[in-house]
Amino acid sequence: MDIRQKILAAVFGITLLAFIIELVRRRKLRVEYSWLWICAGLAIVVVGLNYALLEWITKLIGAGWTSSTLFFFGIFFVVTLCLQFSVKISRLETEVKNLAQELSLREPKMPKGNL
């Protein structure tokens, strides 16, 4: 594996990790959302520095090329992330709905006149 590839992967992975941790530290990203990202960052660093590992995984899953392995896991990660978002959005939507209902229930407007 070309040394430039290794450097690129390592720099990208470490930068991503540092950025995620910084976001968590500044409380812009909640820990519960960060774990998927931290896993991805670690995977990039580990696989980027260890080509033998990537080849081993490729053989293990029966892929033809190492690049297929990377794409497979990359897409798998994105799909997992989207699913996590969908779950969170579903919950948020229910909460927003309940909140709006609660708001209107607390302030019923009474009819005018003496009907």
Binding site: K97, A100, Q101, S104, P108, P111, G113, L115
Partner: protein, 234 residues
Amino acid sequence: MRNDTLILLPAFNEESNIGRVIALVHDALPNTTIVVIDDGSRDATVDRALEAGAIVLSLPYNLGYGVALQTGYKYALRAGFQYVVQLDADGQHNPACMPRLLEYVRDGKSDLCIGSRFLEGGTYAIPLARRAGMFVFRRLASLLLGQTITDPTSGFQAMNRRVLELYAHDSYPVDYPDVDVIVMLHRHGVRIAELPVTMFPSAGKSMHAGLRPLYYLFRMGLDIPLNLIRRGDG
């Protein structure tokens, strides 16, 4: 003496109809509390409803028909009402039919009484695609329920507190309440009945135009089986 009954009218931009509908409801069931759920209307719906003598619950933004209705169910439960009659605020449902639906539930003949447009040869124009979809799910619902339901999509209903509690629950599909709700109720042992009602022609705006019938088919095809396997319905 109707202190235990609440009338629910979900309304979105119905300033031209709401006053008349409330007056007709008053005529049909005098001295009954009427609650209009304003689903973020941008016109004078709220003022018209208040002038006509209704209590108004205003949602802060438009959340859809199902959410508006559920807000009303929650209100009814908290205020301790035993019975609820719901009808659309666009004037399509004839309030004169309300007492019959209500009495049916009140007499304990069923927990939910749906006002059907199709019983006794009602003539009601519905686009072909939607009618096909309705036919399929009507048959499916009838199969699952072991009884014929001719108009499961009707928004004209009378119910008791038992149904209210299920409707107010988070598992009520607020984004698309339809045949699946009936199936859900049936699973909880709710007794459902239908009575024929007369309908006034709708004042224009169709809820089921364009691609909606296709989406309807898709959603009900998904919702009904998913509802059957879903946990946490109580």
